[in-house]
Symmetry: C2
DNA sequence: TACTGTACTGAACAAGCGTTCAGTTTGCGG
DNA sequence: CCGCAAACTGAACGCTTGTTCAGTACAGTA
């Protein structure tokens, strides 16, 4: 319930309090192994504090999980609030490019996002809803603007594009395995986007086989 | 190490031994909540046996997990071994339709498959590799046959199609949430396949905006 | 200096976990 | 019938887990 307004007014850089450090470690460890596999003692060791301090600050392990979810969702919200124009132009086909550009290369946030989406809890559902609504609006706008072929089922079309986007996060490791390039790395992203754009503009299947 | 050959020769229907019943329950519970969240006692209660019997038959909880993985992978292999012609024709765009047709409607297998793929363990990686290889071969065949537009990066194209397929399993709940139809139900599948085929043949984006 | 609230710790607790084991029941060949 | 291996159980063990709690260190205030 205490938000960042309770912290003393530090102008540019937060003083990296133990509380923030704990959340940072939790984010990293949760992303790497999943919250269930990470113990409070693991996080305490990572943050160089006692396990009791974590409970002191966040009430319970679940409280820390919730705080981490909120933190990531907040970052994601900030990315989603970018003007939609930035999404449509350049090689940035999708939300993924924007998200990757907004987070450092070794950030655990994409990985954590994957877990959040697949965990089935409301935070992930809300996140997907926002993502879908944004894509849905984009489909309408682009269709009206003549940049997109009209679809008889725009909801499915938006979900189709979103799912395609998401699969890069969800299947990152597997795609890296079969393609040889991490699809979320600059090189891998370029390969992926190039072929995806080609598929989306030139089509994949021929209408009939002459 | 003891395979099904050790069971007595029952002609049509396996006698549903306690051992099989345990695996069946494990499959259901693992799919529903994830192996980490399911205790040996949970599985024992589901199968109406003592926890000790599970360890007697499978050695350890990990042994049961491995056995369940193998069982699901075996079913999946049987689906993948279907002739590729069956995949290309009709509304069955993809592996998903074949898989769904091969399993009962309320089967926990698709859900378990999702967990297997995302768990990061070798069983899931092997499975994805097979899936990819099949799709990769399909891309070549369909391109030679003139049914598919040639791609400059066929590996990515195959991964792209596979990922699109997989996203229906991975995002099943979320897609059902935003679309109102479970994409793995007959109705939802029809909606999805119709729009996906449209996108794949007519394209999504226009080449230029006149 | 004395007071107070917050950050923080070490040690312990209760509960739940996977696993073990001695022992009982069951089924089957001799 | 006996004997023996396999199926199966109840009760416990050791360990890890999240959590609690009494107490310490330290800042800010009067």
């Amino acid at each position: 319930m205490t938000d960042s307004a309770t912290t003393p007014p530090s102008p540019a850089e937060p003083p990296a309090s133990a509380r923030d450090h704990i959340l940072e470690c939790a984010l990293k460890l949760f992303a790497a192994s999943g919250p269930d596999a990470v113990t409070v003692r693991d996080i305490a060791a990572c943050a160089h504090v006692s396990p009791a301090l974590i409970l002191h600050h966040y009430g319970s392990k679940q409280g820390l999980r919730d705080a981490t979810d909120e933190h990531v969702a907040g970052i994601f919200d900030a990315v989603l609030d970018m003007p939609i124009d930035a999404v449509t132009q350049d090689t940035t086909v999708s939300m993924i490019g924007v998200l990757l550009a907004a987070t450092p290369a070794d950030s655990p946030i994409p990985t954590y996002l994957r877990r959040l989406i697949l965990s089935g809890d409301p935070a992930g559902r809300k996140l997907i809803r926002q993502w879908f609504e944004l894509t849905r609006r984009y489909v309408d706008d682009a269709t009206v603007a003549g940049a997109m072929e009209p679809s008889t089922d725009p909801d499915v079309r938006a979900a189709f594009l979103m799912a395609n986007d998401l699969s890069m996060i969800l299947l990152q490791d597997h795609l890296a395995d079969v393609l040889g390039d991490d699809p979320l790395s600059p090189k891998g992203l370029e390969r992926w986007v190039a072929d995806a754009m080609d598929a989306y503009t030139s089509g994949v299947f021929r209408k009939e086989t002459p």
